[in-house]
């Protein structure tokens, strides 16, 4: 199945639900509104013609100047159909939550936790949403946001075991 076929089938299944379909460098990107994310993902996972059974990665992008500031990016692959697709959605900073896809892909568990840890986007119905790479008691915020300084917010300066030259 070619990219064009995937595109047309998606448009048929969701005539009004998709914000944007784009193809660049041979990759298909589908943008959906936040409240339809789970529905479209379920279609991609369950539909036999789609059959996207493999989760590649979950990622996030921060666009501080936009109204809907955060972008969550899911990337799926179909092992049988040898096809890739990228599913994106936007969420505003004031209500920073999207539906979790852990019920469809088990691997989404750790990947969504990483997005929460790094960007502060929460996932509804996630079984265990805790920080994963940063310490549990980390209070400086979410390091991959664009307004987070590269050298941190000064937590490191309070470490007594580092002498002044190493700080």
């Amino acid at each position: 199945m070619s990219l064009q076929q995937v595109m047309s089938q998606l448009q048929n299944a969701f005539p009004a639900g998709l914000t944007k379909l784009a193809e660049w460098r041979g990759e298909l990107t589908v943008t959906v509104p936040r409240d339809r994310l789970h529905e479209v993902a379920q279609f991609l996972h369950d539909d036999l013609a789609m059959d996207f059974d493999y989760i590649v990665h979950v990622s996030s992008v921060d666009w501080p100047d936009d109204d809907e500031r955060f972008e969550v990016v899911y990337e799926f692959y179909s092992v049988r159909k040898r096809q890739r697709i990228r599913l994106k959605t936007r969420t505003p900073e004031s209500d920073c939550i999207v539906d979790s896809l852990t019920d469809l892909w088990k691997g989404a568990d750790f990947m969504e936790r990483e997005v929460y840890d790094m960007m502060g986007i929460r996932f509804r119905n996630h079984p265990d949403l805790r920080r994963i790479l940063m310490p549990d008691d980390y209070t400086e915020g979410y390091p991959l946001r664009k307004d987070f300084p590269l050298r941190g917010k000064g937590w490191r300066d309070t470490f007594e075991f580092l002498d002044e030259t190493a700080r």
Partner: protein, 414 residues
């Protein structure tokens, strides 16, 4: 060579059992045990909280992040070229393949075609790196289980290849030999000789490793039927590489989305049947033979030619021209101070590293620095399946599980 392993039957306490009231009651409680972060078998600084019922694992919670260095944040602060040395420090035992995966991703973003000879050089070095990675894995995994001899044999042969890397690029582990659009330098006659010698020397040594392990009853009993995962679950968890193929899923990016010189080589992708630790071991050992085959074919097919694409706005000029030619020097200076102007857009590019699918997702808004760079690290994703795969096995099997994923914490925590 089949040994029955009694320990794979999963023990469960069932209070709903009809005879549970007539059985003598004992006070039992679950035990919490911290393993790591400084345990020698956890392959780096990894902590796992184990909930135990006797010696059986009820639940295990990996605690990651002890080696987190914020590589993705650092990437946003440097140019595309400046990020290459950072990729060495991801999976620090297999730096070459990280360089390769990253350079391929940037080439996809910039739409650059790499010259033929460079593709062959890249494939050869990537396969040498795969051999090193699998040797390292085989040695440490056998050592974790207690078979010490194989460790010494693997490291003896790995040393030959690390010296070869040393001669190629001046570093044994943190190599940074790949460049966007090609490679840093060509093979010398001495390097070619040494590689050919190694190809003749190595296959009998693989047979030796196999004899050491498969005649070792303890090692076989501790790998067969341990940490079984079904094909469906492995796909759902997003496992990749030998960990996925051990369950019989035919997914190898070298075949599924052929890149570099792989489509020009004939090789097979070994697949497991049972999805246990033994099958994953078998696949890795078979891949050693396949890597030797691929390198042989590449050496035969390789023709003379340029080793760097000539896209003056992106790729680096050759060093001799930088010192003799004004334009090349300006180009060199510009590329290193400002970087090149990437088109706005986003790409994902996955590469079959020896651990699994190592992918880079790059978002560009134009300019010389990536707006967002996400690393899809196979070690991190494999750790996501740790709890699921460890349930019902013994504490000692948790050690073989770290081994079977081939995790490196530098890549897992980034």
């Amino acid at each position: 060579m089949a040994f029955e392993d009694q320990r794979t039957t999963v023990y469960k306490v069932d209070p709903a059992h009809p005879e549970s009231e007539t059985l003598p009651t004992l006070r039992t409680e679950e035990l919490l045990l911290n393993m790591g972060p400084q345990h020698p078998s956890t392959h780096g600084v990894l902590k796992v909280i184990l909930e135990l019922e006797g010696e059986r694992l009820v639940k295990s919670t990996p605690v990651l992040g002890f080696l987190h260095r914020g590589v993705e944040k650092l990437a946003e602060d440097g140019t595309y070229h400046q990020f290459i040395p950072h990729t060495d420090r991801l999976d620090y035992v297999c730096a070459m393949y990280n360089n390769f995966a990253y350079c391929r991703a940037v080439e996809k973003l910039m739409n650059i075609t790499v010259p033929d000879r460079a593709e062959y050089l890249r494939t050869i070095v990537a396969e040498v790196q795969r051999i090193i990675g699998h040797q390292f894995w085989l040695g440490t995994q056998a050592l974790d289980i207690g078979a010490m001899t194989v460790f010494f044999y693997c490291f003896r042969d790995r040393e030959i290849l690390l010296d070869w890397f040393d001669e190629l690029c001046g570093a044994r582990l943190t190599t940074s030999w790949y460049r966007i659009g090609g490679v840093e330098r060509d093979f010398t006659a001495s390097l070619l000789d040494k590689l050919k010698q190694f190809l003749d020397y190595f296959p009998p040594k693989i047979d030796e490793y196999i004899v050491f392990l498969e005649k070792n009853r303890i090692w076989v009993a501790r790998t067969k039927g341990v940490a079984v995962i079904s094909a469906e679950d492995a796909v759902s968890f997003g496992l990749s590489g030998p960990t996925l193929r051990g369950s019989g899923v035919d997914y190898d990016l070298r075949k599924a989305e052929p890149y570099s010189a792989y489509p020009k080589c004939e090789f097979s992708v070994p697949l497991g049947k049972n999805g246990d630790t033994y099958d994953r071991y078998w696949i890795r050992v078979q891949e050693l033979y396949e890597s030797v085959k691929i390198i042989r074919q590449c050496l035969e097919q390789m023709q003379d030619g340029p080793i760097m694409a000539e896209v003056s706005s992106v790729t680096l000029p050759p060093k001799e021209r930088v010192f003799t030619n004004l334009e090349s020097m300006i180009q060199h200076f510009k590329l290193f101070s400002q970087g090149f102007d990437a088109p706005p857009g986003e790409i994902y590019c996955g590469t079959e590293a020896h651990k699994g699918e190592l992918g880079f997702y790059i978002v560009s808004v134009g300019g010389g620095k990536p707006y967002r760079l996400k690393i899809r690290a196979p070690s991190f994703i494999h750790m996501g399946a740790f709890d699921y795969m460890s349930r019902g096995y013994m504490i000692a099997d948790a050690i073989t599980l770290f081994g079977t994923y081939d995790i490196v914490m530098g890549e897992c925590d980034r």
